[in-house]
């Protein structure tokens, strides 16, 4: 089934009113010119007749690949006006097509336990978490039941082993970067920005030959719905492949994301909006408007600088093959720092501000951040009384900072105009960015609304750093090359938990343990599966648990692969408690478990062909994840491989919650330096 939803509100489907219901059919056909080119046509039927929009595209559009094509599209007759009030469209997918489409290619099977939901009162204070735990325990005791065995059949697979590895249960090509880095994103996710005149502006993977017809298709689809439905197309979903297309139509700009990676529509829409926001942040909506005024045909693609293209590219990479929970959590990552030291930092900042009112008069400094790490974890915040910036805007800023950390611009201080779309989409703020330690990746960011405030901010920043540097504890955290912040999963009495994310809703911040991943895991899969002695195998796995085998944050493909896996697991956990359109939780609390079963084997590519695998080559994967959302926090966790005891997991979850609440001041920035 394919479904297209084009309503703003995402009403339920089948909103049939007499005379106004319609069906869109995707009919794979063959273009008369080229036999190899099937046609996808969208046909709208109603009592008054049929109109159709036909798009010719190679099978790529329907199977896993990016839409790439030569397009021949035609918009059909005026009679379609009758659809103007049709808000939701049910689309049926021609069965003949599905047979040509590979089934969802997952090496594992998601065995999703029905969400357990409960409501609680909205006013749960920190101290009341005990009652939470009781409720949780009650619920869990009710919901224990045995799982159906894994898809691949217990008998065939080797015994699962409890370990600290995080295997990949998703289709390898979907989530893992192979040597050929291109593949993943190329075929599983792509981003398109076009102008509403159909001119390509940006695509993640530049292929100029393909982008032009593609821009035409995207534009046609969007226009089709505008003209014929007076509605905006939002999403297209190929249910049997899991493929999703999400559209964002802003004035002058259309953004489309295509993904096979399992994100919900809401997440993809947020990502569309994030790309759009980037354009605003670099141009302002005002100049965007000016550029397109009287020139609907304006070529923004060539107007954008190489740096914009690369910023967009790095954002797209962040959103597709990286671990970037910030957007779906709608939160910023905080850097855990001992409470005493964090308070001291904030106190020193205020003191310095106070003493320097002559060089940095009120109104000069708008906001400030001390960030640590490649993933821009917040160590300190400077903000005016009564004002906070939007998380969304700050995420854009941090993306820019990430980029500069990556570019290694340590030796220079930057002065960069950036527009914050939610704060004020028509004007720039100016950001002073100074890298404090390249190894530690710590950065100071000071924002001002005045474009010539650079030297004032610089002077203030220099003095602040001198002051902070005098305190050896602070210096250690901010300036030193040996970061001693963050925490390990081992610091928490949470047995069997591999990794977790804890978000404090109040602070719009999240934390997670540092990444410790088993670098040898890959080797184990690749090299030892051919070993015939199962027990020896197991010993190796268990051996890997030893501490010295664990490698901390290291650059390279291993880390990236690990992050991609994490992203995918967390995404599915998140999806399990949110509806496609993102509505969730609000006043409700939810606990849900997901169990991922699968096998890893040498023949990882021959998934679905289990019969051919020899049992010695297989190893069962059995990962359980849990998500627990309340109005006050969100906890996502992933168990070690082989753990299937919900009781154990939920008791660890409770311990994590307790620990996070106990250390709240250390983990999160409560107020920051408020001036």
């Amino acid at each position: 089934m394919v479904n297209i939803s084009n309503s703003d509100e995402h009403k339920t489907f089948n909103n049939n009113t007499t005379n106004k219901s319609g069906t869109i059919r995707f009919i794979p056909g063959f273009n008369s010119i080229s036999k190899a080119t099937p046609t996808v046509s969208i046909a709208l039927n109603n009592s008054r007749g049929t109109t159709d929009l036909s798009i010719t595209a190679p099978s790529d559009i329907i199977n896993n690949n990016s839409i790439s094509s030569t397009s021949s599209h035609r918009l059909l007759p005026e009679s379609t006006k009758s659809y103007s009030s049709l808000r939701d469209i049910e689309i049926s997918f021609d069965e003949s097509l599905s047979s040509r489409v590979p089934n969802k290619t997952s090496n594992g099977n998601i065995n999703e336990v029905a969400p357990i939901e409960f409501t609680t009162s909205n006013s749960i204070s920190q101290n009341e978490h005990n009652s939470y735990q009781e409720i949780l325990t009650d619920l869990l005791s009710e919901s224990f039941y045995s799982y159906t065995p894994s898809v691949c059949g217990m008998g065939r697979c080797g015994p699962s082993v409890v370990s600290n590895e995080l295997p990949n249960i998703f289709n390898k090509s979907e989530t893992l970067l192979s040597v050929n880095k291109q593949r993943l994103t190329r075929f599983n996710k792509n981003f398109f920005i076009i102008s509403d005149a159909g001119k390509p502006i940006f695509t993640m993977h530049r292929d100029d030959k393909k982008i032009i017809p593609l821009a035409g298709i995207i534009n046609t689809i969007v226009n089709y719905f505008q003209v014929n439905q007076q509605a905006e197309i939002k999403t297209i979903h190929f249910r049997n492949t899991g493929q999703k297309f999400v559209f964002l139509n802003k004035e002058h700009i259309i953004i489309m994301i295509h993904s096979n990676l399992g994100e919900s529509f809401k997440i993809l829409q947020d990502q569309c909006y994030f790309l759009y926001s980037y354009l605003i942040s670099t141009l302002t909506s005002k100049s965007l408007e000016r550029l397109f005024r009287n020139r609907s045909n304006f070529d923004l693609g060539t107007f954008l600088a190489q740096s914009d293209i690369e910023n967009l590219n790095s954002i797209c990479h962040l959103l597709s093959n990286n671990f970037y929970p910030d957007i779906f959590l709608n939160a910023l990552q905080s850097n855990p720092i001992e409470k005493r030291i964090r308070n001291k930092i904030h106190k020193e900042i205020l003191q310095e501000l106070h003493e320097n009112r002559d060089i940095i008069p009120r109104g000069t400094l708008l906001y400030g951040f001390l960030l640590i790490g490649e993933d821009t974890k917040m160590a300190a915040v400077i903000r005016p009384q009564g004002h906070t910036l939007y998380t969304h805007d700050i995420q854009l800023l941090f993306c820019l900072v990430r980029r500069h950390l990556h570019l290694n611009t340590m030796d220079r201080e930057l002065w960069i105009p950036i527009c914050f779309p939610k704060f004020n989409s028509s004007g720039f703020l100016y950001s002073y960015i100074k890298t404090l330690s390249l190894k530690n990746k710590s950065v100071m960011v000071l924002l001002s609304a005045q474009k010539d405030a650079f030297f004032k901010l610089k002077l203030f920043g220099d003095r602040l750093l001198t002051r902070l540097g005098k305190d050896s504890h602070i210096a250690k955290i901010i300036i030193s090359d040996n970061p001693c912040t963050g925490f390990s999963i081992k610091d928490i009495p949470a047995p069997l938990i591999h990794h977790f994310i804890f978000k404090s809703t109040k602070n719009a911040q999240y934390i997670m343990p540092i990444m410790e991943y088993n670098i040898k895991y890959q080797d184990v899969i690749e090299n030892t599966v051919s070993c015939n002695d199962e027990s020896e195998n197991n010993q190796k796995y268990l051996g890997n648990q030893q501490k010295d085998d664990i490698h901390f944050m290291e650059d390279g493909i291993d880390l990236l692969n690990y992050q991609i896996k994490l992203q995918r697991y967390y995404m599915e956990l998140h999806n399990s408690v949110t509806s496609e359109d993102g509505s969730k939780l609000q006043s409700r609390s939810v606990i849900n478990f997901i169990q991922w079963d699968g096998i890893t084997s040498k023949n990882i590519s021959s998934y679905g062909d289990i019969d051919n695998l020899q049992s010695v080559n297989n190893r069962r994967i059995h990962i359980m994840g849990m998500v627990w959302c309340t109005p006050h926090f969100e906890l996502y966790l992933i168990s070690n491989n082989g753990v299937s005891d919900k009781g154990a997991i939920s008791s660890s979850a409770k311990n994590i919650l307790r620990w996070c609440q106990k250390h709240e001041q250390r983990l999160f920035i409560q107020n920051g330096a408020i001036f």
């Binding site: 600088a305 740096s307 060089i359 220079r412 930057l414 960069i416 105009p417 100016y430 650079f454 220099d462």
Partner: protein
């Protein structure tokens, strides 16, 4: 130590950041990202006082600006208080010299006329009338490999520089040809101007005239010549 502000101007991708990078870090990246906004760096050099033959340390505070047209409105902020401007073009791209010329015009117009410039502070009286402009034709290495690639003849640029009273050199950030020399020349020139000013002031004071120069804004560095 004397401190001077220097700004780099010129079309996008002519190699401003590469020149700065060569000067400050002595490295070169084949793929350097276009600058957004501007970057601020500093680097010190040593020159010899022509009279006393003593070493003098000169610290450059450098603004590496973005060449992209849309950041043009920010440029005045960077050149307003500059002591020197390095206007860069790419000798393989004729248009980039036109752009450079328009920067030179703008500098002469805006910076020469300091009364125009009173929105900021009491710093109008700095030595912008003595702004040192150095024209630089970059990417010389490209034409050494392939003379066909040259689009701006050396003689044309020399003539223009003489007419406009600019310093001029062809350089290569990639092969580090003439880069240090450019900054050395600018440093010496600025030092010369500074000495002359001091002499003038002394003379005036000796004649009993009042020194009317306005106070400079306070900075943390008392040796700073301007901020």
């Amino acid at each position: 130590m004397l401190q001077f502000k220097l700004v780099l101007l010129g079309d996008s991708s002519v190699g401003k950041s590469s020149i700065v990078n060569r000067f400050v870090k002595d490295t070169f990246d084949e793929f350097r990202e276009s600058t957004i906004g501007a970057a601020f760096l500093s680097q010190s050099i040593k020159i010899k006082d022509p009279k006393t033959n003593q070493d003098v340390i000169i610290k450059f505070e450098i603004w590496d600006t973005a060449g992209q047209e849309r950041y043009k409105s920010l440029a005045p902020m960077y050149y307003r208080n500059a002591n020197a401007a390095l206007v860069v073009y790419d000798i393989t791209i004729a248009d980039s010299l036109l752009k450079a010329k328009s920067w030179v015009n703008e500098l002469k117009e805006k910076v020469g006329n300091s009364t125009d410039d009173n929105d900021n502070d009491n710093d109008n009286n700095n030595n912008n009338n003595n702004l040192v402009i150095h024209l630089v034709g970059n990417k010389l290495d490209l034409v050494e490999d392939d003379p066909e690639m040259r689009s701006v003849a050396t003689e044309d640029a020399v003539k223009y520089s003489t007419d406009e009273n600019l310093l001029f050199k062809e350089v290569s950030a990639k092969t580090d040809f003439n880069i240090k020399e450019v900054f050395q020349t600018i440093g010496e020139k600025l030092y010369e101007i500074r000495q002359k000013e001091l002499d003038n002031n002394n003379n005036k004071q000796n004649k009993g005239e009042i020194n009317i120069s306005l106070p400079r804004p306070s900075t943390n560095d008392s040796t700073s010549c301007c901020s």
